[in-house]
């Protein structure tokens, strides 16, 4: 069973063309990362005037800067990730020429109590899973070899509101 990790970015603010979460497997890590699932959750309580905006999931070939996110091991006995594996928000990423792996729309308006609009549906993990390679052994995960990464990007320009982004992946030597 492969060592499994969860990269978590909490309350990252929307900004124009920002990578809300970047997972990058840098040179020398000695690991191959396999992305299984990504969630994006509208976990915010402060009132904002949100809009509908757009997101993309893109492959990247380099990543610098940004604010480090958290890493949680699914099994505390798993090895820690080497420093070459980074989980960040707001990083400067180099996108590959590959087209987007996925585009999706997002409302960054805060959820309300007692209603069920898209703002609230984004708070339900089962509905807020934006990438899923689980459930079938024939379906391969997104594989990140060294010098490869993935970015969950806000391609819009709105600057209000925050979101939590969670990425679930395994790490192995081959």
């Amino acid at each position: 069973m492969a060592a499994t990790y969860r990269g978590v970015v909490v309350g990252t603010a929307f900004a124009a063309n920002k990578s809300m979460l970047t997972l990058f497997n840098g040179s020398g890590s000695g690991l191959v990362l396999r992305v299984k699932r990504i969630w994006m959750l509208n976990n915010q309580t402060a009132a904002v005037t949100g809009v509908l905006t757009t997101m993309e999931i893109r492959r990247i070939s380099a990543s610098t800067g940004g604010t480090a996110g958290g890493v949680v091991k699914h099994d505390s006995s798993s090895a820690g990730l080497p420093s070459q594996v980074t989980i960040t928000t707001g990083a400067t990423d180099t996108l590959t020429s590959d087209p987007a792996l996925m585009r999706f729309m997002w409302s960054n308006d805060e959820p309300a109590t007692g209603s069920l609009t898209n703002d609230e549906s984004e708070c339900i993990p089962a509905l807020a899973c934006v990438w899923d390679c689980t459930g079938d052994s024939d379906l391969e995960p997104l594989v990140l070899r060294q010098n490869e990464g993935v970015s969950v990007r806000h391609t819009g320009s709105t600057t209000v509101g925050v979101a939590d982004v969670i990425i679930e992946f395994t790490a192995a030597t081959s």
Binding site: R59, L95, N118, D138, E140, V143
Partner: protein, 478 residues
């Protein structure tokens, strides 16, 4: 690599209800492979209301961005003379980021009737009728050689973008607009054509033509036209009987999947073909027939050139024309990732050699009193994930070995060890999941660890998809 997995994602070329498949995935005859389709996804991005009137801005500016940094989707560019391929550095993209610094030079208000889904006819239709100089509706640029003026020029490092700037709502514009540019570079003519998803507020452009070549780019013709209607599409995944052969030779329509693991590399010759916007006939369905339920008169012509079609279909889906909004509409239900997978990973449809599937938008029903629309275009994206593997997994068997012999399988080209073992009953069996076959390989047997000893045995064999059984005859070494 015996099994490779790829993903294609994009809005395609045209979401047609007029007979073409939005995309078809084909496993060519004689490919020696089979294709496993894992998922088909449909994404509704529309947010606009029916009365929305977009204002389209066209700007020229300078950018330091590269093609890939602009994101979005690549738009193919065709050469008027195939002897003169497009100079490198000139690209077109749709639904892409663009820098703000620019100079606007044209603006168009696209008119739509507010009470129906019919778009204003003056801006509708083929170029010769509605885009002449003094025509009504949409404007155009025309700058052929007879004009005594400079054409609009994209010098190296400049771009042209087409953006909906009307309101601060993303993808409010569900309007089917087509952008076409004919341009001249280094004395030769090229064109590109896109039906983009016009977005606003988020800084993206529906269409961008980027000149990062060393030549100036002269725009000879440029126009925006409203195309089709905006009916609720009715998507079906159907087996392919035949596909227009011209489409298969048209590089504009052929796209490639992205490997989910870079170790797979790009698709190779013989891999499945993804062809966009192609005329096709479904499997086992004639060009014309009337179903029993038909009223008898041709009320609707669907994608099959038939009416009342109910033939082989893997699945159907109304993604709903309704828009995404803050309320949870039916259109919004096509938004959530888990809800917009047409076929989920358990689908695993197998396409053997010569087989294919297509996503088509067909008539809602053939008993409507009016014909269905000709175009269901709106901001949709489509996703497709599939694997490619040999049509059969070969098994290597050997018999007649002396009990206790060690055996090994190597690649003949590199000597790389594939597998090894010790036989306990004189036989061995190994299922080969490595490279694609046919493949030259070497089988070695030796028994030198205990008496009776045998001389080394070695044979080279040609592994095909049918597998092989090797009769081994060892010689005593005494």
């Amino acid at each position: 690599m015996a099994r490779r997995q790829y993903r294609w994602f994009g809005s395609g070329l045209w979401q047609s209800q007029s007979g073409n498949a939005i995309f078809a995935l084909l496993n060519p005859s004689g490919s020696g492979k089979r294709v496993i389709v894992h998922s088909i996804e449909i994404f509704n991005h529309k947010t606009g209301s029916g009365s929305y009137v977009p204002i389209i801005d066209v700007v020229v500016g300078s950018t330091s961005k590269t093609d890939s940094a602009l994101g979005g989707e690549s738009v193919p560019i065709a050469s008027f003379d195939t002897n003169y391929p497009l100079p490198s550095g000139i690209t077109a993209r749709k639904n892409t980021a663009v820098e703000a610094s620019s100079s606007q030079f044209l603006r168009q208000v696209s008119i739509r009737l507010t009470t129906s889904s019919t778009w204003a006819s003056p801006a509708y239709g083929p170029i010769p009728f509605h885009y002449r100089k003094n025509g009504r509706g949409s404007w155009f640029i025309e700058s052929w050689s007879s004009d005594d003026m400079n054409p609009i020029t994209l010098n190296p490092g400049q771009f042209l973008s087409v953006t909906d700037l009307t309101t601060a709502v993303v993808n409010q514009d569900g309007i089917p607009l087509e952008v076409m540019v004919i341009f001249n570079v280094n004395g030769h003519t090229y064109s590109c054509d896109a039906v983009p998803c016009f977005s606003s507020y988020n800084g993206t452009a529906g269409f961008v033509l980027l000149n990062n070549s060393s030549y100036p780019l002269y725009i000879k013709r440029f126009f925006i036209k409203e195309v089709g209607t905006a009916d609720t599409p009715y998507f079906r995944v159907v087996p392919v009987g035949s596909v227009d052969p011209f489409s298969l030779g048209d590089s504009i329509r052929i796209v490639q999947g992205v490997p989910v693991d870079s170790a797979y590399g790009p698709p190779v010759s013989g891999d499945p073909i993804i062809v966009l916007d192609t005329p096709m006939l479904p499997y086992l369905v004639p060009q014309q027939y009337l179903a029993d339920a038909s009223g008898g008169s041709p009320k609707g012509v669907n994608y099959l050139h038939t009416k009342d079609f109910w033939g082989p279909t893997y699945g159907v889906m109304f993604p709903e024309f309704l828009t995404i909004s803050s309320s949870l509409t039916l259109g919004g239900l096509a938004w959530g990732y888990r809800k917009r997978k047409f076929f989920d990973s358990e689908f695993n449809l197998t396409l053997n050699e010569g087989e294919g599937i297509a996503l088509v938008s067909s008539a809602e029903t053939a008993v409507l009193s009016s014909a269905v629309g000709t175009s269901g275009w709106q901001p949709y994206d489509f996703g497709l994930q599939y694997s490619v593997e040999p049509k059969s997994i070969p098994v290597i068997r050997a018999t007649g070995m002396a009990v206790g012999s060690r055996w090994a399988i190597q690649k003949a080209s590199t000597g790389e060890l594939v597998a090894q073992g010790v036989t306990s009953d004189g036989t061995m069996e190994y299922t080969y999941y490595g490279d694609d076959v046919p493949l030259n390989m070497i089988f070695k047997v030796r028994k030198a660890s205990s008496s009776p000893y045998y001389k080394p045995y070695e044979t080279q064999f040609y592994l095909t998809a049918d597998g092989i059984t090797i009769p081994v005859s060892q010689v005593l070494d005494e």
